[in-house]
């Protein structure tokens, strides 16, 4: 196998590189990946490390690992480079779900299967994509509903609980899908729990805190809060703590380190565990399955399990 050589390894590794290159078997798959912005947050940094590690463990994979640095133009250029290098498959983490569509089409026209990872491209480009590998946000929303409902049943307040929702940024697919999953599932499992109001927190902790402060003034009885991610959930928790309101059940999604810590302190009930390692490994596996001619669903989700105070020991603390 060969993986991307970092420049930090310097020219001295050229000889070692030559040895490895010579050892590469003829029937290996060359898979190129262009990532969104490694280093901007630890999710993406961990993703890259996990991807390189996973590719390294597989003798049949040569990975060309690129990073667009958040720059659409650079990502398009990287797509062109990968096509020119005649890789067997391209994995793309879009910097912009729309601007990369023509570049994805170019790969499609060159008969190179494209796998979109983490966040999908715009629908107009679906024809040119072999598969999407990433989290299922609808399921994440419905699992959050189940976590909350189970807790209410345990507390015996499933017939009277009042809850509020703080959603992600309006217009974002992830925000819309999580809210939909939650709102559809909640009446199925806990028909008597009342969702009194939903307001956007824009994925922002401070904004979410303000939204929660307003909720606390408006409603005397709030038993639960569902937030579109832990970042916003912790913002809401801070508002409740400042107002001295105890006993509220907080459930989020995408377990952040702050959420994990708050769970450890017993202040935050549960969330959805989304691991960048699983994300990266799922993307590579999807690409390999496609290259091996296996049937892969167009939307190929990896599992994002429930995490609560009860089972958090089974998960390592998120790095982001």
């Amino acid at each position: 196998m060969k993986i991307s050589f970092r420049a930090s390894m310097a020219v001295t590794t050229a000889i070692a590189g030559a040895a490895i290159a010579g050892a590469a078997a003829a029937d290996t798959y060359k898979i190129g990946i262009t990532q969104n912005n490694v280093g901007v947050d630890s999710y993406q940094t961990t993703y890259e490390k996990a991807f390189i590690a996973a590719a390294g463990e597989n003798d049949n994979v040569e990975a060309v690992v690129l990073d667009a640095g958040g720059d659409v133009a650079r990502q398009i250029a990287q797509m062109e480079d990968l096509i020119q290098q005649e890789v067997d498959a391209i994995i793309i983490w879009p910097t912009n779900g729309k601007a990369v569509i023509p570049a994805v089409r170019k790969a499609y026209q060159a008969d190179i299967p494209v796998i979109v990872t983490n966040s999908n491209i715009d629908e107009q480009g679906f024809d040119f994509v072999a598969s999407f590998s990433g989290p299922d946000n609808i399921t994440q929303g419905s699992r959050s509903a189940e976590i909350m409902c189970d807790k209410f049943k345990e507390m015996g307040i499933e017939d009277e609980a009042q809850i509020v929702q703080i959603s992600g940024q309006p217009g974002y697919t992830t925000a819309i899908e999580r809210a939909k999953g939650f709102e559809d599932r909640l009446p199925e499992v806990c028909p008597d729990v009342n969702l009194v109001e939903t307001q956007p927190g824009d994925w922002n902790r401070e904004k979410s805190q303000k939204v929660m402060e307003a909720f606390l003034v408006k409603y005397d009885d709030i038993d639960g809060v569902y937030a579109g991610d832990d970042n916003m959930g912790v913002g809401a928790l801070n508002a409740a703590k400042a107002a001295g309101r105890d006993g509220i059940i907080f459930v989020g999604a995408t377990n952040f380190a702050v959420g994990y810590e708050a769970m450890g302190r017993g202040e935050y009930w549960g969330s959805i565990y989304q691991s960048p390692v699983d994300d990266a490994e799922a993307a590579l596996k999807t690409a390999l399955d496609i290259l091996n001619g296996e049937d892969v669903p167009f939307l190929n989700y990896f599992d994002t399990p429930k995490i609560t105070q009860d089972n958090m020991d089974e998960f390592s603390k998120p790095v982001f």
Binding site: A63, V65, I76, T95, A99
Partner: protein, 333 residues
């Protein structure tokens, strides 16, 4: 005399020597360190290199003239994004939308007008207020970027027209269209700088503005024309790039001005004006693009690429300074 001509040739050729060095280095290093069997120097890869150089290169031509003038334009990145927004959004306007694919030339025209207007604003302020071009275009950089964000907030502006994408992706005679556009721009701007009075005046103004005024050159209008030209070229660059991608983020084009100025300076154009060459600027752009692409080819990451290019820029300027100082000393003797 003979010696100084030779030295000038050596200086103009330096950038091409550097490019040859890069090609040799990446050609050899690519054999050992790259992940792919395709050679770095493969013709397809070189064509791709030229194509990817086009967006920055087209603007760099205009920047060369402006810098020969002794001015600078920091607002080109923002103009680049603004023109793209006008181009993509105008195709959905009620006037243009019913035209279908015929909206494309009008959208391009509007983008070019936008670019020229932005250049005109810069030029007029530089001329009429006498404020240093650095400050004026720094303000314009922020101001134009503000316009970009006012247009559509943080959201990308998007209009996918497959006909437009096909035109932008087309390759008449096997050469991708952006390269042809770049080549025509090089030819025209070279002609302006070397065969017209306007070009001669540009050097004269940059060399000694007082003397140029005394010689009867209308310095103000001359600079305005150059800003309109760079605005036009920024718009043209925006068209060649965004016709293909069909979507612009409000942050697009940020730091383009710095990449472009880096390329122009690498090509030997003086920041103080009076000296510079279009062909050498093309060399500067190719050198940077080669560096970016080559380092990527052998597996370096983005941060590393920036570090290397920054170091080379400083090294080149230091060498240039040493060469010039030696030249002056020789003259005294």
């Amino acid at each position: 005399m003979q010696k100084s001509v030779l030295k000038n040739h050596a200086k103009e050729g330096a950038i091409w020597g550097f490019i040859v060095l890069e090609l040799i280095f990446f050609g050899i290093a690519g054999e050992y360190m790259s992940m792919t069997e395709t050679a770095f120097l493969a013709p397809d890869n070189m064509i791709l290199l030229l194509k990817q150089s086009a967006p920055l290169g087209i603007i760099a031509l205009g920047m060369t003239i402006v810098m020969i003038n002794g001015n600078i334009d920091l607002s080109v990145g923002a103009t680049f994004a603004l023109c793209a927004i006008v181009m993509l959004d105008s195709m959905t306007w009620p006037i243009l939308a019913p035209l279908g694919d015929w909206a494309i030339p009008f959208a391009w025209g509007l983008a070019l007008l936008t670019g020229m207007l932005m250049g005109l604003i810069n030029g007029l302020i530089v001329w009429k207020t006498g404020v240093d071009a650095f400050i004026v275009t720094l303000g314009a950089m922020l101001g134009f970027r503000g316009l970009v964000f006012m247009y559509n907030g943080e959201q990308p502006t998007f209009h996918l027209n497959w006909t437009m994408v096909d035109i932008a992706e087309s390759a008449p005679l096997g050469i991708p269209l952006p390269i042809l556009v770049f080549a025509v721009c090089i030819a025209v701007v070279w002609w302006i700088m070397n065969r017209t009075v306007h070009g001669r005046n540009a050097y004269a103004i940059g060399d000694n503005r007082e003397a140029a005024v005394n010689a009867g050159i209308k310095v103000g209008p001359h600079m305005v024309w150059n800003y309109v030209l760079i605005g036009f070229l920024a718009a043209l660059s925006s068209i060649t790039f965004y016709s293909e991608s069909g979507s612009v983020n409000p942050n697009d084009g940020m730091l383009y001005e710095l990449w472009i100025i880096t390329a122009v300076v690498l090509g030997g154009t003086k920041l103080t004006g009076g000296r510079g060459s279009i062909i050498a600027t093309v060399g500067g752009i190719l050198a940077i693009q080669l560096m970016r692409k080559g380092l990527g080819f052998i597996g370096a990451d983005t941060a590393m690429v920036n570090l290397v290019i920054g170091s080379i820029l400083i090294a080149v300027l230091y060498l240039d300074r040493q060469l010039n100082r030696k030249g002056e000393e020789e003259l005294k003797i």
